[in-house]
């Protein structure tokens, strides 16, 4: 004898109406037969048999309302079992335990809202070998070319990456060296070519997907977040998505609101993604090579204005910068200034100005935003007791907001002043030259913030 229980139509359903019986006592029941219709205020469902036999007893007559989920509503006698009805026993509506009620919380080790401080990476040794001077543009190209020579599964795909040589000439020469099979021009279809790259990465290839600018990746953000970032977790670790999405991010010059936005905090919000925003050409090269070799999806944020900037770059083709480590650009005593991408340059100019006024600023180039090297920032703040974060993006829920929160979690007792945020003004980017200048963080804004946290 099998009891048929009142089914739940949704995890939030606790009771419902037994609208109609499709079978009567004595009827033969086969798996898949519709037994009854169940109604709630929002849905109706035909309720099918899973067990087979003969309907021996109906415990809840049709038309009954407020029948609790999991209350027995009928009985089925199996083959060979006598189908004798037991004494009629109406079931009174009763509140049932909500089947979707969460189980008691497991005793997991208590976790801070933010990730615990990760074990410190081994110190990065200073490069002492030979260097050449390269632009950021050429450093990126060299990084891709070297990795494509090293691994046949690496390919570059995006708009204008092949015959046009890159909308910003980043992929110059790659088509000639690697051919159309590995350097692939796409139609203007960000959503699908991003998804195509993710699918290819799931199959084991190592795509580099170029967005002409990160503004256009807004068309594709579902594939980056829902498909690329989450698949490893959702598959219990079976699947991998080794892919790099790269392109210029943030404000260029006079291109106005739809083409001037810093997406760092958007992507840094997402577990499963790594987010990199370098400043020097050496870091662009070393971190892009690390990103291509990484088994995870990496968001690589470049900056159009930096493409033409030159820096010394180690000549060794195996020069790699590990992901997840900040760099102290200049040591200082009185205030810590964090920045990434082009804002490192702005912060350095501010530090120069501050030095002229007797304030020694320690400038940290974050380089990687996720995972954030909070250790380096904490160590610095323990020395300077003051923090100014700089970013091109908006302050609200931005990178500076995250750093401020983590500093309060990890170094509250060392702070002599509330952390200050210098960020893009809370407006869409204006076109007019004077307004654009006002909207973006300038050295003077950083100087003012550094003085404010120093009470000067």
């Amino acid at each position: 004898m099998v009891d048929i229980l009142m089914p739940a139509l949704s995890p939030t359903m606790t009771e419902g109406k037994l609208a109609k019986w499709h079978k009567q006592v004595g009827d033969a029941i086969k798996a898949g037969d519709v037994l009854a219709e169940i109604e709630t205020d929002k849905a109706t469902m035909e309720f099918e048999a899973v067990d087979e036999g003969t309907l021996s007893e109906i415990l809840v007559p049709e038309g009954s309302e407020h029948i609790a989920v999991n209350a027995p509503i009928a009985r089925i006698a199996g083959e060979g079992e006598p189908a004798k009805p037991a004494a009629a026993k109406p079931v009174a509506p009763q509140p049932a335990a909500n089947p979707a009620a969460p189980p008691p919380a497991p005793k997991a080790p208590p976790q801070a809202a933010s990730a615990p401080l990760a074990p410190r990476l081994a110190a990065e040794s200073e490069w002492t070998g030979p260097s050449t001077t390269l632009t950021v543009r050429d450093a990126l190209r060299d990084a891709m070319a070297e990795e494509m020579r090293r691994d046949g599964d690496v390919f570059l795909i995006g708009e204008e990456v092949a015959e046009y040589q890159g909308a910003y000439k980043v992929s110059q020469g790659l088509l000639a060296e690697f051919g159309a099979r590995r350097v692939i021009d796409t139609p203007i279809s960000e959503h699908a070519f991003a998804g195509l790259g993710v699918g290819a990465a799931m199959a084991g290839l190592r795509p580099i997907v170029e967005f002409m600018t990160w503004n256009f990746a807004m068309q594709a953000v579902d594939q980056l977040v829902n498909s690329a970032a989450k698949t490893r977790y959702m598959s219990g670790g079976q699947m991998s998505c080794p892919i790099v999405f790269r392109g210029p991010n943030g404000a260029a010059a006079r291109v106005a609101a739809q083409h001037s936005q810093d997406y760092a905090s958007w992507y840094a919000h997402v577990p499963g993604l790594k987010v990199i925003a370098p400043y020097t050409a050496a870091d662009h090269k070393g971190l892009l090579k690390a990103a291509i070799r990484d088994p995870n999806p990496v968001i690589f944020l470049e900056n159009e204005i930096l493409y033409g900037a030159s820096f010394p770059v180690p000549s060794d083709p195996d020069y790699i910068v590990p992901i997840g480590r900040a760099r102290i650009v200049r040591p200082g005593e009185h205030v810590t200034i964090t920045a990434y991408s082009r804002m490192v340059e702005v912060a350095e100019r501010a530090a120069d100005a501050l030095a002229g006024e007797g304030i020694s600023a320690e400038v940290i180039d974050l380089r990687t935003l996720r995972p954030l090297d909070i250790e380096t920032i904490v160590d610095s703040v323990k020395k300077t007791n003051r923090l100014v974060s700089v970013e091109e993006g908006w302050a609200f829920a931005g990178i500076g907001a995250e750093i401020a929160a983590q500093i309060m979690e990890h170094a509250f007792d060392w702070l002599d002043a509330p952390p200050a945020r210098v960020a893009g003004k809370d407006v869409p980017m204006p076109y007019a030259a004077n307004l654009e200048h006002l909207a973006l963080p300038q050295p003077d804004d950083i100087v003012a913030a550094a003085k404010a946290v120093g009470y000067r």
């Binding site: 048999a49 899973v50 909500n98 959503h191 998804g195 195509l196 699918g199 290819a200 670790g237 995870n296």
Partner: protein, 342 residues
Amino acid sequence: MAVAAKRKPKSRPDEPVEAEVSAEKLLDLYRAMLLIRRFEEKAGQMYGMGLIGGFCHLYIGEEAVVTGAMAAVEPGDTVITAYRDHGHMLACGMDPKGVMAELTGRRTGYSHGKGGSMHMFSREKNFFGGHGIVGACVPLGTGLGFAHHYRDNKRVSLTFFGDGAMNQGQVYESFNMAALWKLPVVYIIENNRYGMGTSIARSSASPNLFGRAAPFGIPGHQIDGMNVLAVIAAVQEAVEYARSGKGPYVLEMLTYRYRGHSMSDPAKYRSKDEVSRMRQEHDPIDQVRKRLIDGGLADENRLKEIDNAVKAQITEAADFAQQSPEPDPSELWTDVYGEVSA
């Protein structure tokens, strides 16, 4: 326009072109479809008991589509689909125990309880999910086809999605690139007539879904997706086309889901008559059953044996899924990132 020689596109199914199969193969198809049917009925029951949470999209009624498709491919061909995906997992040869245990959110599930109904994968069986966003699996499946093309491995990507996805822009972006680069992708539209509760007539300016790939030069047909032998014949033809390097192919499988979109379904957008007519007159399993009996290929006893074996398999899966422990709390923090190899 490139159209396979054997057929011309029409807005209604042609006289069914059916695959010829042996009696033993027909019994295999019966068993495979019955396994999906019984699995889904059990999942529906367990959902009703509160053992399965969240969304649960059942494939009941549509079994012939994936069963027929998987009978037409070769080992190494890849499969990807959207969220009505339990049938695809079983048809790919994934273990019903592991699938059911994922539905109950247990550590023995395919994703260790971290994916649920819509997010399961098997590298071993070349099943690439299980994707919860309507339309998203189409570029992903195109990417699998891209990888086959890049490696020149003669494999084909079977990319399943519903009629609802046909109104997502990324589908057409994908068709364009697949046709442009001649990627080996067979797009299989599971047209069950309703995107959630909205019928094709109320959502699609053109009801001919496969024809929407024609401007890209992608050949296609409508197929009676309730007839497993018609499905096999069509998929064989499409897979052969894609494998030979000619590019993508679209098959629109006319099918029907008997149950709601998910578990909580108002059932107001279609008539009960419509549902019961499909069940009584077009059921894919009954059709095969009738062929087997009428053709003298199997007797009632043989089918009863199969029914009982399938039922035992499902009972075992359900027991396993209820007895397996929940994931260890430490699993919360694993599988977010892969380790960087030295």
